[in-house]
Symmetry: C2
Subunit: 349 residues, 2 copies
DNA sequence: ATTTTCTCTGCAAGCGTTTGCATCACACAT
DNA sequence: ATGTGTGATGCAAACGCTTGCAGAGAAAAT
């Protein structure tokens, strides 16, 4: 009838006090050995560390961060786990965090804007030492709160024109330019594009890169060849069908990202349009599945995991020195030519 | 010269005491309103809640769980983020956790067995209220620790023959049986298999299902058609090449999971073996990319995200009632027939 | 009218850390 | 010998919360 006490799970835990008792010093000394590493004599340090190890002591995170120390937890805010691109970045983040002895708290916004609660919690909670914002768009007032609280954070894959924040992103403009130029060099003149979300800097910049490449090569911009997308596969699919269904369909399509390129591939397949014979397709991101497609996808490689890793490094640096001025890093993209792009039909014979 | 005090970030935080002062009750009453919901008069509760809302109060997790309450954090232990299957499960977990007002702490083992530290931390830390183990193999002694500490946990996608643990998995045997039978019914007799990791119950069961289906239909087992895999794409690729390079190659290949099936598709493509004309391929999992492949992959659908969701529900139930006896849930699989499987060549004409 | 029971509230003791301050011993310069 | 600085240590006060215990009324039972 009678159940266990509410504190059941508290048992067994080795605390700093146990270590102190066992090694014959005060618990504050133990604390200093474990975190501060200052003003402790060498033999005391060694003795304490030995005991801690022997007892299997593991610091209690809540206590530590409650008392004002580090929790060694970093919060990662992502829109959702339904996107290869996000996964890749997160993978890089995770790896680096691991390497540096940090834990990862995952907050997903699920595209619901009301989910900012999570965000607030993340900082108000005080659980995290810092925040990695991989979400497409962050309301300015939230960033203001972060700044004002001097809470360390890094914007990942967001062009921060104001240079007010720590941020990292890729050369989206250049990548799109390269991709488009690649198609032009192959001989294509009718080049369609399925854009990314136009409320995101990456979406905008990629479209601009596309336009610039056309302009540089004196190809008139045809608005009908621009299909507005959202970075998700289904849009690539419908967009592909739409473009291929035009009176004079494009001979090449540049998709704003790989996922949408996959959709184009699928639409082409259904219409009996052969890639790359009848249609060239180029993507953006180079997520792992790009190379598994048939034909393997020509795309613009972003070092997504690298982006995650570097973001972590920036963040940790910022955690060390909260007063340091914001940095911005841009990662180069690279055109990866595979089998989904080729010269247009009329040039082949 | 002089830097900010170490406690800089502590400012601004609204504590339970502020709420208490503002609403004219003691802080313990506030605490009871916020977490206990017991023995508080209706109007006190309302008043406190109103004030809390107005002040934008958010409970401090560390303090709460330090003091013995719930942290509303669940730890999720995964091998890594490089696997569509894991992603899907995690996605389900994440969604359900979100819905239930929990946060997700992600621990990746990165296949390094030394990474059990993470594991120990997760519980010793006391940060998490419970643990979801999505990792392929968990040493028994760890599970013993969990049991002994009465720490809530659920094994995800692990056949727990002992029924000692809370666990959830799919009908791996049946799924493999169905897949193989599907190929047999199409007329295939030479059916190759690329197995999963044989130290995992899912790998073993799928192989058994394959064998049983063959036996039921009086097809002799040919050991040469069994290629040992590991659930990753490259192995599917090499396995595909290997099987297709045999003197009498199989007319169909059942891959232990979709990722390996993708590898087979790629190998077939390189060899000029056409799918499904010359070779039928069936996968397992039905990760989102399966439908993006060309040809679209016939596979055994596991409700991976559902598995994650249900796992969360089991865990939360167990957190509520730590003394409850372990449950086990099995989720049905479903054969999804798409274009990568067809009757063998010789039957077609 | 008195006792018992019950609902509600407050007090205070922790939870396991970090860290400012005080203390102490020792060496060094005076 | 006395003073001064310095490295090493300990004490105790937070950090923000939960919860056992006790007390205060009010309602119910005697």
């Amino acid at each position: 009838m009678d159940h266990s006490s509410p504190h059941t799970r508290k048992k067994n835990a080795v605390t700093i006090i146990d270590v102190a008792r066992e090694s014959g010093v005060s618990y504050s000394t133990v604390s200093r050995v474990l975190s501060g590493f200052e003003y402790v004599s060498d033999d005391t340090r060694e003795r304490v560390l030995a005991v801690a190890k022997r007892l299997g002591y593991v610091a209690n995170l809540q206590a530590r961060s409650l008392a004002g120390g580090r929790s060694n937890v970093v919060g990662v805010l992502v829109p959702g786990l339904d996107n290869g691109y996000i996964i890749e970045v997160t993978r890089g983040i995770d790896e680096e965090l691991n390497r540096q002895g940090y834990s990862l708290m995952l907050y997903t916004t699920h595209q619901q804007h009301g989910k900012e609660t999570q965000f607030v919690s993340a900082i108000a909670n005080g659980l995290c030492d810092g925040l990695l914002l991989v979400v497409p768009v962050v309301p300015d007032d939230y960033l203001d709160v972060l700044q004002q609280r001097k809470f360390p954070y890094v914007l990942v894959d967001q062009a921060d024109s104001t240079r007010r924040h720590n941020s990292i992103c890729s050369t989206n403009w250049q990548g799109a330019y390269d991709a488009t130029q690649h198609l032009i060099n192959l001989g294509h003149r009718q080049i369609g594009i399925i854009t990314g979300r136009m409320d995101l800097s990456s979406g905008i910049e990629r479209l601009e890169g596309y336009k610039s490449a056309l302009a540089t090569h004196d190809i008139a911009l045809d608005e009908r060849l621009i299909y507005p997308g959202d970075f998700f596969q289904p849009t690539g699919y419908t967009g592909g069908h739409h473009l291929l269904g035009l009176p004079t369909p494009p001979t090449a399509i540049f998709a704003g990202n790989d996922l949408m390129a996959f959709g184009v591939l699928q639409a082409a397949g259904e219409r009996g349009v052969r890639v790359p014979d009848d249609l060239s397709v180029v993507g953006f991101d180079d997520i792992p599945y790009s190379v598994m497609m048939h034909p393997r996808l020509t795309t613009v490689r972003q070092l997504l995991d690298e982006m995650g890793r570097v973001a972590v490094q920036m963040l940790l640096k910022h955690i060390e020195q909260p007063e340091s001025t914001p940095h911005h890093i841009t990662l180069d993209t690279q055109l990866i030519v595979r089998e989904s792009s080729a010269p247009p039909r009329h040039l082949k014979k």
